[in-house]
Structures are given as structure tokens and as C-alpha cells.
């Protein structure tokens, strides 16, 4: 049995990480471009991008800001992949064998619980039935 959607979650996670990285890269090239460039050139941020100055457009971004954007996005991807690895380690802690055993165990618990409850009720009803039959016999004896 093979499903193409089996690994959809890791794929989705990777896609999400990629999208976040791209967004951050875009932000770095745009509004944070100045600050990023300053950071890259080891200069004070105010000097490179004063607060009152309009955000730098991507077209104006220097190769330095591009390098910073790439560095930031690669850091984001690294952090995201670490987080994904941590999650998958937690996920792998429960083995497939244990899940399979649990599924089969639950099945038999359900089946035997239903059988047990049904048989107990059936036994009680049978006793009630025989008791009523005995009472009917007494009533008929009295009628005679």
C-alpha cells in the first residue's frame, strides 16, 4: 500500500520554512535593507539607515544587503530544520510497532467488553425469565 500523501507533513513543514525564509529575505532586502547592510558592514544602524529615512527599495539594495538577506534566511532555515528534527525525534519516540499493538489491543478490548456486557445482561435476563416462569407456575397451581 503506497500513498503519495504519506509524507505530506514533512513536505508541508519544509514548504512553510521555505516561505518564511523567502518572506524574511524579502523583508531584509526591503524595509530592513538598510539595517542589514549596516550590520553587514559593521557600521551603526542609525548611520546606515536613519529612523526617519524611507525604507530602501529592493532595487537599491547593495550586494552587502543581499548577502545579509541570504545569511538571515539561511539562519531561519537552519532554525526551522532544527525544530523539525526535534519534532521528528519526539515523533519517532513512539514506534510503529507500539502503535500497531495498541490498535490490535483496543480492538480486542472493545470486542470482549461488548461480549462480556452482553453475556452478563443475557444471564440476568435468563434468570429473570426462569423466575417469572416459576411464578407463573405458582399462579396456575393456585388457579387450579
Amino acid at each position: 500500500m503506497k500513498s503519495s500523501k504519506d509524507c505530506i507533513y514533512p513536505q508541508r513543514r519544509r514548504l512553510k520554512n521555505g516561505v518564511v525564509a523567502l518572506l524574511l529575505a524579502g523583508l531584509s532586502l526591503g524595509s530592513l535593507g538598510g539595517a542589514s547592510a549596516a550590520f553587514a558592514q559593521d557600521a551603526p544602524a542609525e548611520q546606515a539607515a536613519p529612523p526617519a529615512a524611507p525604507p530602501a527599495a529592493p532595487a537599491n539594495s547593495s550586494p552587502g544587503s543581499l548577502a545579509t538577506a541570504i545569511a538571515v534566511s539561511s539562519e531561519v532555515v537552519t532554525q526551522a530544520s532544527r525544530s523539525a528534527q526535534r519534532q521528528s525525534r519526539e515523533h519517532a519516540r513512539i514506534s510503529g510497532g507500539n502503535l500497531t499493538i495498541a490498535a490490535y489491543f483496543v480492538l480486542w478490548i472493545f470486542v470482549f467488553a461488548l461480549i462480556f456486557l452482553t453475556m452478563r445482561r443475557q444471564r440476568a435476563l435468563n434468570q429473570e425469565l426462569s423466575e417469572l416462569g416459576r411464578r407463573m407456575d405458582v399462579v396456575f397451581e393456585d388457579m387450579k
Binding site: 500500500m1 504519506d6 490498535a103 472493545f110 461488548l114 425469565l129
Partner: protein
């Protein structure tokens, strides 16, 4: 009733055959069918998850058909058949909702997602739980039985929705045999067929056990009335 007497006679045979089929299916699942390459051992949940879903369909189909017949001709036997079918169906619906997430936790990385097929199954569970609660807490009057019969018929509409949910709306739920699924290997198919047979036997056994309780309950109720009548006659004479 002649049918009940015949069923009572064939029940031990059915019980033995079902037990044998279940044991054979467990052997085939764990010792004959290979371990699936991508999912590993967790794929073996499939051999009980799908037959449980089939039993769920069978139970609820019987419940709705018997309810329909009860509405046409209010015979208590149809009502008892409907409740017994719903009880077994509900148990296996609950099992489907438990075994599915156990598989999905490993295969999808999450136990539950609001996939159309999963959501529709959960809705079916809620509908028949409502049906059972109505039967348990509202007495056993004619009016309650008719309302419950209507509810069982309405709830049945969800079954084709579940079955065709993947085809209609997509979603994550895998398809194996139907709607372009990849199919099973010969050993897997054998284990799956044996499991289907075993579950069919299990369904018949459980269904008959539940129906027999209700028939006995009816006999007890009738006898109580007879004892009361006889006692009144005795007191009058």
C-alpha cells in the same frame, strides 16, 4: 419464532467459524503478509481498520433499513434489529476513529486532521451516538421508537458521503483498492480478505448476541404482563 430457533441452532457453528477465521487472519497479517516498505509495521493497522469500517457500514445500513421497515410496518422486531445494528455499528465506528489516528500519527505525522473523510466519519459517530442516547434515555414508547427510526434513516445519508469523500473533495485519507488506489500485493490481499471474512463473522456474532438480549428482554416484559394478568384473574375469582 422459527427464525430465532434456527439462528439459535446455527450460532455455535457461526461462533467457531468466526473464531477460526479471526485466528487465521491474525496469522496471515503478522506472519504471512510482508511489512510495507514506506510505512513499516504500522501499516498492519490497515488490516483491521478497513474491515472495522466495513462492519460500521453494515451495522448502520442494517439500522437504517430496519428503521425504514419499522416506519412502514411498526413491528417491534424491526426496531430491535435497528438498535442492535446501530450498537455494533457504533462500536466499530469508535474503533475506526481510534485505529485511524494511531496509524495516522506515524504515517502523516499527526493523529487527527479535519480531512473530509475523517470529519464525515466523526459526524456519523455523533449522529448514531445521538440515536443511542435517545434510545437509552427516552424510554421505549412508540413515539420515541419512531423518532429514533427517522434519525437512523437521516444519519445513514452520511455513509455515502464518507465513502465518496476522497473522490469528491480529495483530502489526505489514502485510497487502496477503490478510486485509483495502488492496490495490494497478493500476500497482503490474502491477509486482507481473511480479515474481512473474520470481521464479517465477528459482526454476525456480535449482532446476534445483541439481538438475542433484546428478544429475551421482550419475552421477559411479555411474561411480566402475563403474570400480572393471571394474578388479577386469581384475585377476581
Amino acid at each position: 419464532m422459527a427464525v430465532v430457533r434456527i439462528l439459535e441452532k446455527i450460532f455455535p457453528v457461526l461462533l467457531i467459524l468466526s473464531a477460526l477465521a479471526m485466528m487465521a487472519s491474525l496469522y496471515l497479517i503478522f506472519f504471512h503478509a510482508p511489512i510495507e516498505l514506506t510505512m513499516g509495521v504500522v501499516q498492519k493497522i490497515f488490516y483491521v481498520h478497513v474491515p472495522a469500517a466495513m462492519i460500521m457500514y453494515a451495522g448502520f445500513t442494517i439500522a437504517s433499513l430496519a428503521s425504514f421497515l419499522y416506519l412502514l410496518k411498526p413491528n417491534r422486531v424491526w426496531d430491535m434489529v435497528a438498535v442492535s445494528g446501530a450498537e455494533v455499528g457504533l462500536l466499530f465506528c469508535l474503533y475506526v476513529l481510534v485505529s485511524g489516528p494511531l496509524w495516522a500519527y506515524k504515517a502523516w505525522g499527526t493523529a487527527w486532521t479535519w480531512d473530509p473523510q475523517l470529519t464525515a466519519t466523526f459526524v456519523l459517530f455523533l449522529l448514531y451516538t445521538g440515536y443511542m442516547l435517545l434510545r437509552i434515555f427516552s424510554g421505549s414508547g412508540e413515539r420515541v421508537r419512531k423518532i429514533a427510526a427517522v434519525l437512523a434513516i437521516i444519519a445513514f445519508v452520511d455513509i455515502p458521503i464518507i465513502h465518496y469523500a476522497v473522490r469528491q473533495w480529495g483530502g489526505m485519507h489514502p485510497v487502496v483498492e477503490r478510486e485509483g488506489g495502488g492496490g495490494l500485493g497478493p500476500e497482503m490481499k490474502l491477509a486482507f480478505s481473511a480479515a474481512m471474512l473474520g470481521f464479517l463473522g465477528l459482526f454476525l456474532v456480535l449482532f446476534w448476541l445483541r439481538l438475542r438480549v433484546r428478544l429475551t428482554q421482550q419475552a421477559v416484559d411479555r411474561l411480566y404482563l402475563d403474570v400480572e394478568d393471571a394474578a388479577q384473574v386469581l384475585a377476581g375469582s
